[in-house]
Subunit: 488 residues, 2 copies
Amino acid sequence: MNKMSMKWLLLLQLLQLTCYFSSGNCGKVLVWPVEFSHWMNMKTILDELVMRGHEVTVLQSSASTLIDPNKPLAMKFETFPVSLTKDDFQTLAKILIETWMLAVKDFFWIHLSTIQSLFDEFSDIGMKICSEVVSNKKLMTKLQESRFDVVLADAVGPCGELLAEILKVPLVYSLYFSPGYLVEKRSARLSFPPSYVPVMLSELSDHMTFMERVKNMIYVLYFDYWFQLYDEKKWNQFYSEVVGRPTTMAELMGKAEMWLIRNYWDFSFPRPRLPNVEFVGGLHCKPAKPLPKVLWRYDGKKPDALGPNTWLFKWIPQNDLLGHPKTKAFITHGGSNGIYEAIYHGIPMVGLPLFADQPHNIVHMTAKGAAIRLDLETMSTEDLLNALKEVINNPFYKENIMRLSAIQHDQPMKPLDRAIFWIEFVMRHKGAKHLRPASHNLTWFQYHSLDVIGFLLACVTTVVFVITKCCLFCCRKFASIGKKRKRD
Amino acid sequence: MNKMSMKWLLLLQLLQLTCYFSSGNCGKVLVWPVEFSHWMNMKTILDELVMRGHEVTVLQSSASTLIDPNKPLAMKFETFPVSLTKDDFQTLAKILIETWMLAVKDFFWIHLSTIQSLFDEFSDIGMKICSEVVSNKKLMTKLQESRFDVVLADAVGPCGELLAEILKVPLVYSLYFSPGYLVEKRSARLSFPPSYVPVMLSELSDHMTFMERVKNMIYVLYFDYWFQLYDEKKWNQFYSEVVGRPTTMAELMGKAEMWLIRNYWDFSFPRPRLPNVEFVGGLHCKPAKPLPKVLWRYDGKKPDALGPNTWLFKWIPQNDLLGHPKTKAFITHGGSNGIYEAIYHGIPMVGLPLFADQPHNIVHMTAKGAAIRLDLETMSTEDLLNALKEVINNPFYKENIMRLSAIQHDQPMKPLDRAIFWIEFVMRHKGAKHLRPASHNLTWFQYHSLDVIGFLLACVTTVVFVITKCCLFCCRKFASIGKKRKRD
C-alpha cells in the first residue's frame, strides 16, 4: 500500500473515531452484497456511509470477486470459507451470461424457461453459500457480538434477510428489479397494474395498445403463477429450519424496513409506490474527472493495425468518459448503471442489448426518445454508422436525453443522499415501522378482499333467495286460495 | 399601516425585484384558495413563495373572508364581484357546520345523506362563483395578460382546474382529503385498497377485523357508486360549455401536474402513492414564539366567576401555545392543522371531534396511542378530567406522541421545502410530465384491465368449446363406426 493510501485510510479511521465520540449518530452496517455490476452500485452507498463515519462490514465468501486489490477500501471485509472456488464462481457466472445471451434470441417462452433453469441452478448455489454462512458458528458468534445497527442487502441475492432475522437487526434492501417484479410484489407489496405497468423483461412501454395490454397480462399471469425466482419450497424449508419456526422467504424479505430501488422517473415509467419504497436511481453518478486525450478499452493483444493516436487501457472510467465535453454518443449494451451515467451527462445512446434487463432498459430509452436500438446479431456496419449519425445529428435525441438529464439533476435531494438518509434513519430509530403498510399482515386472499367480496356476494344471494322464496310462497298461497274459492 | 409593516413590504418587494433581475428563477403564481382552515394552510405556502421572491396573486370573491385587515400581506389579492355578500357566505358556512355537527350524531347512512345534500348546496354556490369568474371578461383578460407560470388551487374547491385550462397554465393542487377519497381516486388515480386503507369518514384504522373490512368495503362501494361530491352532470356540462369541447371535471382535475397532500406517515396510515403525489403534512408547523404567562381564548362577555390569574384573548396563536415548555396536553376538536401542531410539538391529546374529518382524524391519533377520544355530548366533567390526567400522567401517550414528533422532524427534507420545490419545479419545467402515470390515458374499464380479462376469458371459452366439440364429434364418429361394425 502506498503512502497516499495509508494517509487516506488513517483519515477515514479518524472520521469514524470522531463520529463515535461526538454525535454518537454513527452506526455499524453489515452488508450482504451481490457480485458484478450490483456491487459497483452498492459500493457507492458504502463509500458514502464510510465517509460519514459509519463502520461498514461486508460479508463475502472466499469465492467472491469483490475486492479490487489495487484500491484501498476503508470498509472491512469479513471473508468466510465456502466449498466453491473463485474460478468455479467465475465459470458459473460466465455460463449464466452466455446461456442467457443465447436464450434472448429464442421465442419468448423458451427464453423464459431457460431463465427459469438458470435461476434454479443459481438458487442451489445461493443456498449452499447461505447455509455455509449460517452454519459457521465462529462467524455467526462474531457477527452477533458486533451488534450491528442495520443489515444492508441486495434483494436479488438471498440470505441477507435470514442474517437480519438471526442477528435481530433491521434490514434495508437495495434493488434494481426482479424478473416479473415478483420480489417487489410479494415482499414489498408494491402493486403493478397490468394496464399501464409493463412487466420487466416484456419490452413493452407504459403506453400500450389493446393487444400489448393482452400480451402484458399474459406475462403477468405467467410470472405470478408459473415462474419461480428461487425454488421457494426448498428455501422456505431451509429458512424455517434455521429460524426454528415455520416461515417463508417472502415473509422474512417482507420484514425489510426500507427498499431502495435503483430507478427514478427519468428512466422508469411512473407507477405506484409505497411509503417504505424510495427510488434512488442514478445514485452512483457523479461529475466527470479529466481524461487522457485518446483511449480505448481493450484487454487482449494490441492489434497491429492500431493507429498511433489510440491508447489501449484495460479499464477506463465510463462515467468520466461520458462526462467528457467532446462525448457525443454512447454505444451501450444497456446495463442500468451505464444508462444512468448517460442520462446524468446527457449523452444520447445507441443500444445493443445482450441479455437480462438490457433489452427492457433500452426499450425505456427508445420510448423516451433518447436512444436507437440495434440488434448486435443482425446489424451491419452501416446500420451502426447510421444510428450513430442519427443520435448525434438529429436534435430530437439530444433534446430528449437533456430533458431526462434535467429530471435527474433537478430533484428535491440527491438520490445518494436520500439512500443514506433512510439507512441512517433505520439505524437511528431501529426501523421505520411508520412507513410499513398494513398489507403485510394480510394473506393475498385478504389483501385482494376476496373473502369480503365472497361474504357480501353470499349475503346478497341469501337475501335474493329468501325474498324469491317468500314471493313464491305468497304466490302459491294466493293461487291455492283462489283455487279453493273457485272450487267452493 | 404602521412603520414596521411598511418596511416589511418594501423588503419583500426588493426581494422580488432582486429575484427577477438575478437568477430569473422567480415565477408568477395564481392562487385559487378555499376559505377557513384550508386558507390558513395555503397561506403558509404562499408566504414562503413570496419570501423566495415569487409574485403571488390570490383570486378571491367579494364575499371572501380571507384578508385579515390587521396584517400586511405581501401577496396581491385580485378581488372579483359576486352576487353573494360576505354575510351570506358566513351564514351559509355556519349552517353547513351546524348541520354537519348534528348529522354526525345520526346513524351513518343518514349522516352521509345529510352530507350529500350539504355538498349539493355548496356545489351550486361554487358553480355560481365559478361562472361569475370565468364570465368576467375584464378579469379574465387581465389574468391572461399576466402570463402566470402556475395555478395553485385547493382541490376541494372547484374552478381552479378550469382557470388553469383557460389560461393554459400548469396546475398544482393542495389537498387534505375528499370524502370517500373520490377526488384522489378519479383525478389523481391513486389507489386505496379496501383491505387496509380505511375510507375517510369511516372511523376505521388500517388494522381491521374481518367485519371491519366488510364495513369498509360497503363504504367504498357507497362512495364509489352512490355519493356525489359535486353534481357532476351539471359541472361537466358547465366545464364543457366554457372550454368549448366535451370534457369533465375529473378530466380537467386529472391534468394537475402535482398533488401536495397535507398528510404524512406520522398522522396517516401508510398507503399507496404515486410519483406526482407528495405528502407534505405539517408544513405549517414551526417552532413556538414566547407567550404571556396565563391566557384564555374567549370572544364573549367576561364571566363573573373568572379568577384574576386568567387572561382572556380574542385569538391566541395555537402553535406557540402548543410549543410552550409547560404545555402538557391538548384538548382538541380534531382539525388536521391543530393535530399536526400537537404532533410537531409532541403534546398528547384529548379529542372531542365535532364534524367533517375530525372524528376520523382522532381515530388516527387514538390508533397511534397519542390521544384519548371523548364524546362532547355525553361526557361528564369527570370524564374530561380523567382523560386529561391519563394523557398527562400515563407515559404511554407522551412516548407515542414523541415518536410521531420524531417522525415529523426526521424527514429527508422539511415538508414546506418539498412543497415549494415541486411548485418551483413545475414553474421551471412548465409541468412535471415525467411523474404522470399513463393510467390517466385509460378509461376505468381499461385501467382495471376488464377488457383484457374479458378478451382472454372469451379466448379460453372458445378454445374449450372448440376442443369439446371436436372431442364430441370424434366420439360420435367412433360410436357410429362401432355401431356400423356391430350391424355388419
